[in-house]
Subunit: 248 residues, 2 copies
DNA sequence: GCTCTAGTTTGATTTAAATCAAAACAAGAT
DNA sequence: ATCTTGTTTTGATTTAAATCAAACTAGAGC
C-alpha cells in the first residue's frame, strides 16, 4: 500500500524517545539496537521541521530535489499538470508517509505536492540519509523497503484497471480506512480531506461518477455519506463484494 | 520511464568490460572509477545467469524473495491473479530492466513474472547488493535511482487514467518505442511480444478495443499493423496528437 | 443575518467501451 | 500438406460512464 512511516511495524527497541531531539526520530527508530554514536547520527539526519499551510506547496514539479519529507501531521495531495492544463492527482499522503521518492530518479521533482490542510513535515536531506545509511545497514534496508512499498502501492492502483466505478471507489475507501487504522484513527468513520473531483482524478473517473457511486453505496446501506464524512457500515461486506480492493 | 539497465546513462568509465567475468557487469558499471578491490566485489555480486524459456516463470507471487533479476535478453511480463481468476498484467520488461523491486517491501514476491520469449536473466542476491553498496556509495545511489525510476514509471501509467482508449494505446506504443530506442533497436519498427489481450489487461481495456484502436490508427495512416509487427509512420504526429503519452 | 463561491447531488442525454458473436488468420503439431 | 488451437479482426448490440445542465448545500467573508 503506502510508504507509511519510516517506522518498521515491529519497532521493538524501547524507542529512543527520551533522547529524540529531532522531530521524526520515532519514525526512524529501527528494529535493532542503536549505540550512542548511531543515535547521534540519526539526530543529525532529521533536523528540520516545516509547517505547510493548507493550499501551500511542499514542492513543485521541475524543482531540483534535495530532501525527502515525512508527513508529521496534516494531509497532502500530489499531482501533475498535463500540457492541456488538466490536473492529474497521483496520490494522497497522510502522517508517517514519505514524499519525494519519485524525485530521486532524476534529482528533480516529478510532481507537485500541496497541503490539503495545515500540515507539518520533517525534512530528510537525501544525501545525509545515504551517508548515514552506510554506517547503519538496517536503516538503509528499511529505506529500501519503504521505496519498494511505494512501488507496490502504485502497482495496486494499476490493478484497478479492470474494475468499474463503484469497485474502484470502494477500493479507495478501504485503502484510506486501512491507512487510518494503522495510524490509530477509526477505520470506520473518517473525513475525506479531498474533493470528489480530486478523488475522481486519482481514480480515473469524473466527479459526478464519484458522487453517484457514493450515493449508490449509501442507498445499499453499505456506507453513510455526510458531505466529507464517511462511515463504513459494513466493512466486511465491502471487502467481500469488492474483493482485492484493499490493495495493501 | 522504466527501471532500465543498472547502467547510468553517462557510463563514462572505460567500462571494465575486459575483466567482466560475470554477465551483467556492464549494467552495473558506474559513472565513477572503481579500484581493483571494488571490481572484485562487483564480480561477486552478479554471479549467476539463468535461461528462462518462453512460458516459464522467473518467480511467482507469494514466494520468498532473495534476488533481483536483470533481464539480459528476451522479454517478460509480470502479472497478478485476482481472486476471481482474472489475470491483471502489471508490466512488460525488456533487456536491462530489473525485476523484483516490488518484492523488497515484504521479502515476498507480489507478482508473477513469465518469459514471453526465450530469455536470459542475471541474478543479483539482494543482501549482497546491500552489502557491497555500503562500500561503493555510488553503486547504492545508482540503485536508489533505479528504484525511484520504477516509481515514476508506475506513476506514469496512473496518468493514463483520464485518457481514452486510442490515447492510451498510443502512449503504450510510444513508450515501447522509446525503450527499444534506448536499447539500440528501431523505435519505428518493432514486434509486440504480447497479445492484444495482455496489452488490454495492462491498459485497462478489452482485447477487442485494442484491436479496433490499432485498426483505427492504421486507417489514419499513423501506423502500420501486420499482426504483431508495428511500424510507426508518423511518430511526431503521434506524440503531438496524443500528448504527454511517452511518459518517461 | 446575508451573499458569494466552491463543491456536491441529481437528472437527461450522448458517447465510448464492453459484451456478444462470428469469421478470418497464424503457427504449431501431426 | 491438414488439423488444431489460440489469436485477431470486424460487426451488432448493450451498458457504463462522460457530458451537459440545473438545483442544492456548506462555508467563508461581509
Amino acid at each position: 500500500m503506502s510508504p507509511d512511516s519510516l517506522m518498521p511495524k515491529n519497532c521493538n527497541i524501547p524507542c529512543i524517545k527520551a533522547r529524540c531531539s529531532s522531530c521524526s526520530l520515532r519514525e526512524l527508530c529501527l528494529p535493532v539496537g542503536l549505540d550512542e554514536q548511531e543515535v547521534r547520527a540519526l539526530d543529525h539526519l532529521v533536523n528540520q521541521r516545516h509547517k505547510i499551510r493548507r493550499g501551500e506547496h511542499l514542492h513543485r514539479a521541475g524543482l531540483s530535489f534535495h530532501s525527502l519529507h515525512v508527513v508529521r501531521s496534516g494531509f497532502f495531495k500530489t499531482y501533475v499538470l498535463q500540457e492541456d492544463g488538466r490536473e492529474q492527482v497521483t496520490g494522497f499522503h497522510m502522517p508517517g508517509e514519505v514524499l519525494g521518492l519519485d524525485a530521486i530518479s532524476a534529482d528533480t521533482h516529478t510532481c507537485n505536492a500541496v497541503a490539503l490542510e495545515d500540515s507539518e513535515v520533517c525534512e530528510i536531506p537525501f544525501a545525509k540519509l545515504e551517508g548515514i545509511g552506510r554506517t547503519i545497514p538496517s536503516l538503509m534496508h528499511h529505506f529500501h523497503k519503504i521505496m519498494s512499498r511505494e512501488i507496490v502501492r502504485d502497482r495496486g492502483m494499476l490493478m484497478l484497471g479492470g474494475m468499474k466505478a463503484g469497485e474502484r471507489l470502494v477500493a479507495f475507501l478501504l485503502n484510506l480506512s486501512h491507512r487510518f487504522a494503522k495510524r490509530g484513527y477509526s477505520p470506520l468513520d473518517f473525513n475525506l480531506r479531498m474533493t470528489r473531483e480530486e478523488i475522481g482524478s486519482y481514480l480515473g473517473l469524473k466527479l459526478e461518477t464519484i458522487s453517484r457511486a457514493l450515493s449508490r453505496l449509501q442507498e445499499d446501506g453499505l456506507i453513510n455519506v455526510d458531505n466529507k464524512r464517511i462511515r463504513l457500515n459494513d466493512i466486511d461486506h465491502l471487502r467481500r463484494q469488492y474483493g482485492s480492493s484493499s490493495y495493501e
